[in-house]
């Protein structure tokens, strides 16, 4: 039984979705097609299921939901339901066998990385997440730079609980899905000590144009870019020739860096504010990887990458996530011109 609670990335691929969640299945797939992915493992959906049954959380939550038959009407009702359900999870200890299995996996990972306690990213990986049609993006929790088995277990449980944030609950309700959701894997992955990080789109979000790879990055971890805290550097790279077509270097004033545990916000040192956060060869390499990932999936991808501070090029580039781009407006050039006809000419 316990073998099904942990799966190493090497053993994961596209088909693993029901066990690992979508985000993790994609990670395994990336590794399978030869992309540089930091090593790690997943705590499977089955492990979560075991936790729910073994602790009686499952039964308790169903009782609460039954009592909550009517759809919540107000924000307070969502909040209350969310709090109740989350607490049922976080107040229960992870059962002993599961605890040991997870710890063992963590130790093995640390050994593989030649460290005593490897700093890891703990990321929720739901099963309805990251699908081409549903934009669950950012619904669940992630924790960067978690150190030690004890802290890891807490964060795993927190990820499970994030299935029941008011945001997540309301999302499922709006899409006619049952509130009770047990299908979640938790990714445990060696953290990249990000010198810089960011995202790569293999189609322009504004038009759906697939001629270019658009790269955005900042110093430090990708949080600042993904969450839109800063204006990142933005490069446009011609997909076919990998020629850098356009460079937009921004003033990068703030970054998120790996702290003793977790991350913290820091000022970017003055001399680096106007400096591009990736080199031309790094940019080209990331674009090349992005091109291959897109080609493999057959649809434009939104890829998160990170550049390791302690390794030399080209070994310093890692891909940490990929998902299909969900917000492709596919506004054609003709549409844009018609828009301009109104805004810039008729109304001039």
């Amino acid at each position: 039984m316990t073998a099904l609670w942990i799966l190493e990335f090497e053993k994961i691929n596209q088909e693993s979705v029901n066990v690992t969640g979508t985000k993790c299945a994609n990670l395994g797939e990336l590794m399978r097609i030869g992309m540089p992915v930091p090593p790690g493992f997943v705590v499977t959906a089955q492990a979560f299921d075991f936790f729910l049954n073994e602790t009686g959380a499952d039964e308790e939550m169903n009782k609460v939901l039954k009592a909550f038959e009517e759809a919540p009407k107000s924000i307070e009702e969502y909040e209350t339901l969310s709090r109740t359900l989350s607490q049922i999870i976080t107040c229960n200890d992870v059962p002993k066998e599961l605890k040991e299995t997870i710890s063992q996996a963590y130790n093995a990972l640390s050994a593989e990385c030649k460290m005593e306690e490897v700093p890891v990213a703990v990321r929720s990986s739901g099963c309805a997440e990251d699908l081409p049609t549903a934009a669950f993006a950012g619904q669940y929790e992630s924790y960067l730079n978690v150190i030690g088995a004890h802290d890891l277990l807490d964060k795993v449980r927190d990820c499970w609980a994030s299935l029941f944030t008011s945001r997540a609950i309301s999302y499922r309700m709006r899409n006619n899905l049952p509130i009770m959701d047990k299908l979640m894997g938790v990714i445990v992955q060696k953290v990249v000590n990000s010198r810089s990080a960011g995202v790569a789109f293999t189609a322009l979000p504004s038009t759906g144009n697939i001629t270019w790879v658009m790269l955005e990055g900042n110093w430090g971890t990708a949080e600042s870019v993904v969450q839109g805290f800063v204006t990142p550097d933005r490069y446009y790279i011609h997909k076919e020739s990998l020629r850098i077509e356009e460079k937009n270097i921004s003033q990068k004033l703030k970054q998120h860096v790996i702290a003793e545990t977790g991350t913290r916000e820091e000022d970017v040192p003055e001399e680096k504010q106007s400096e591009p956060c990736f080199s031309d060869e790094e940019a080209t390499k990331i674009a090349d990887m992005a091109k291959h990932v897109e080609s493999h999936y057959g649809t434009p991808q939104d890829i998160e990458w990170a550049i390791e501070a302690d390794l030399p090029y080209p070994d310093n580039i890692f891909l940490v996530q990929t998902r299909p781009i969900t917000t492709l407006k596919k506004k054609s050039a003709v549409d844009q011109v018609a828009d301009l006809m109104l805004t810039r000419f008729v109304k001039r």
């Binding site: 322009l204 504004s206 038009t207 144009n209 270019w212 446009y236 077509e245 356009e246 050039a333 003709v334 549409d335 844009q336 011109v337 018609a338 828009d339 301009l340 006809m341 109104l342 810039r344 000419f345 008729v346 001039r348």
Partner: protein, 559 residues
């Protein structure tokens, strides 16, 4: 009070209401001087005015429903039929959808319409067994009336509707392109050589016709017929050609050329000037000019111009940020296609339908004069459909002279007067003009840059710098005065002037904007041109040395 306008009630100016409702009406001197004669004014010209509204409503133009048009003391005044803010808001989304096909594939819209028009003209002739110009004499009175009614209410209307929907789309697309050009590059497109390069290397129908004429002209040369073309009088030239077998052979080919391409009158916008197919001697003057050209100037430069355009396209796109390349390229293509439509369409629209109108009006005039309804055949140009319908069958029993007399008197009076340039509040002019881009067809203004210290500033230009002797010519009928290598100064040019482009080395016109004939032809023939400088024909005298800088859009008078 309603002011009479040749009994054309749709043009009557209501002096109690119109300036209140429309704020200002501007005199359309470009089209209305010299004064139009009533028949054309009420038929061909009226359909163009109507068709602007047809286009505006079909395309749901947000800010305008077409032209408000009034005729006062013989001169036309126009204004915009502006929409309200609510109307504009409702029309915007529909307009966006309607304009898209023109943006996406301008030719894809124009080509089938072009074919449809030509088929309509051919059917009108063939169904009546008409081929030669004189065949119309064979029609019975009722058949002639029916032909006139078909022409005046169906054929002419359809041509106008097609014409104006394409014209409106062209104006909007080029208008947007020029706005974005200014936005992106900080320059005024009509006088920017980089813009010019992008718009060059296209062949309009006009050029094809001139090329055919050139081939014919060279054939005459090769057949040893040069001497036959020596007489100044072109009718005499035809007689000379009749004298030899070779000459007759050439005439046969020439007449075939005219049957196909000669359905055009000396004046595009009237019914009272002769058509080439009617009077073969008309085009002989052009044949004479072309005979001396060993190669067709236009073709010699064409490959180079196309290459330069393709280079310019690459250069311009390279300057743009990635997020803008795609839409700019799409807009550019559409602007290029619609730019050359400006020249292409006159053959299929204005000229053809004008020639048919002249054809029918002339025959009606001949019969009416013969029967005694009117004094002279030319008086037909002072009649309307109503009177034609009154007399077409009873002929001499109906006296149309009172109609002719009162309108002729009004027209002759108009000929001698200078109309006020506007009616109403001139301060509202900018507002009115902005609400409808097609209005600026008549009002392109020179782009003045004091620091250049030029004698004339243009509204648009074709690139290149040249110095030379000026020749001021006021009408296409005086083109024979032009000598090779001179700089032509004219009020404007149209397809009737095209042949001059093989002779001149520079061109200055009073009127015209970025889409006008002189500028488009200037580009295609590689001739520096400054158009829209308003006072060229007044300030420059024949014989003066002038310098044209088409890269800046200015003219210097050197003497």
């Amino acid at each position: 009070m309603l002011h009479p306008a040749y009994d054309l009630t749709f043009y009557e100016f209501d002096d109690e209401r119109d300036t209140k409702v429309y704020d200002v009406l501007l005199c359309d001197l470009v089209h209305g001087k010299p004064p139009l004669k009533p028949l054309y004014f009420g038929t061909g010209w009226y359909w163009y005015v109507y068709a602007i509204s047809s286009a505006a409503e079909t395309l749901h133009l947000p800010t305008t429903k077409g032209w408000g048009y009034r005729v006062l003391d013989g001169y036309p005044y126009l204004t915009a039929l502006r929409t309200t803010e609510e109307e504009a808001k409702a029309r915007e989304p529909i307009f966006k959808e309607k304009i898209k096909p023109f943006i996406e594939d301008f030719d894809g819209v124009w080509d089938p319409l072009k074919t449809e028009l030509m088929e309509m003209y051919k059917e009108a002739k063939e169904s009546r067994g008409l081929k030669e110009w004189d065949d119309i004499k064979k029609l019975s009175n009722i058949e002639l009336l029916k032909f006139f009614l078909d022409y005046a209410f169906v054929i002419n209307r359809k041509e106008a509707e097609t014409h104006m929907i394409m014209l409106v789309a062209t104006n909007y697309i080029n208008g947007l392109f020029q706005e974005m050009w200014r936005d992106l590059f900080g320059k005024e497109a009509p006088i920017d050589p980089d813009f010019s390069r992008l718009m060059t290397g296209f062949e309009a129908q006009d050029t094809r016709v001139v090329r055919e004429m050139w081939k014919l002209a060279r054939k005459a040369f090769d057949m040893g017929l040069e001497d036959a073309f020596k007489p100044e009088d072109n009718e005499q030239v035809l007689k000379e050609l009749e004298k030899s077998d070779q000459g007759k052979k050439w005439l046969k080919e020439y007449k075939e050329f005219l049957m196909e391409h000669g359905w055009r009158c000396e004046s595009m916008h009237s019914y009272d000037t002769p058509a080439w197919v009617e009077r073969p001697s008309l085009a002989i003057g052009r044949v004479k000019v072309l005979m001396a050209q060993e190669s067709f100037t236009f073709d010699a430069d064409r490959e180079r111009l196309i290459k330069e355009r393709e280079e310019a396209e690459k250069e311009v796109l390279a300057k743009l940020p990635v997020e803008q390349k795609e839409w700019f390229g799409t807009l550019m293509k559409s602007a290029q296609k619609s730019g050359y439509w400006s020249e292409d369409h006159t053959y299929f629209c204005d000229f053809y339908v004008g020639a048919m109108g002249h054809w029918i009006a002339t025959e009606i005039g001949r019969r009416f004069a013969e029967a005694g309804c009117i004094d002279a055949p030319e008086d037909v140009h002072f009649l309307h459909a109503h009177e034609i319908r009154k007399a077409a069958v009873p002929l001499g029993d109906v006296n149309l002279r009172p109609y002719v007399e009162r309108r002729k008197e009004a027209w002759e009076k108009a000929y001698k007067t200078n109309p006020p340039p506007f009616l109403g509040n001139i301060e509202k002019a900018q507002e009115v003009l902005r609400s409808d881009p097609t209005l600026s067809v008549s009002t392109q203004m020179p782009i003045v840059r004091e620091e250049l210290k030029a004698d004339l500033y243009g509204a648009a230009a074709a690139p290149g710098v040249v110095e030379g002797v000026a020749r001021v010519i006021m009408g296409a009928d005086r083109l024979s005065e032009l000598k090779e290598g001179e700089i032509l100064v004219a009020p404007g040019t149209s397809a009737a002037w095209t042949v001059a482009f093989v002779l001149i080395k520079g061109l200055i016109t009073d009127g015209g904007g970025a889409l006008s004939h002189p500028v488009i032809m200037g580009r295609e023939y590689g001739i520096p041109c400054v158009a829209g400088c308003l006072e060229g024909t007044q300030k420059i005298k024949t014989g003066q040395r002038v310098k044209i800088d088409g890269n800046l859009g200015v003219v210097y008078i050197l003497d």
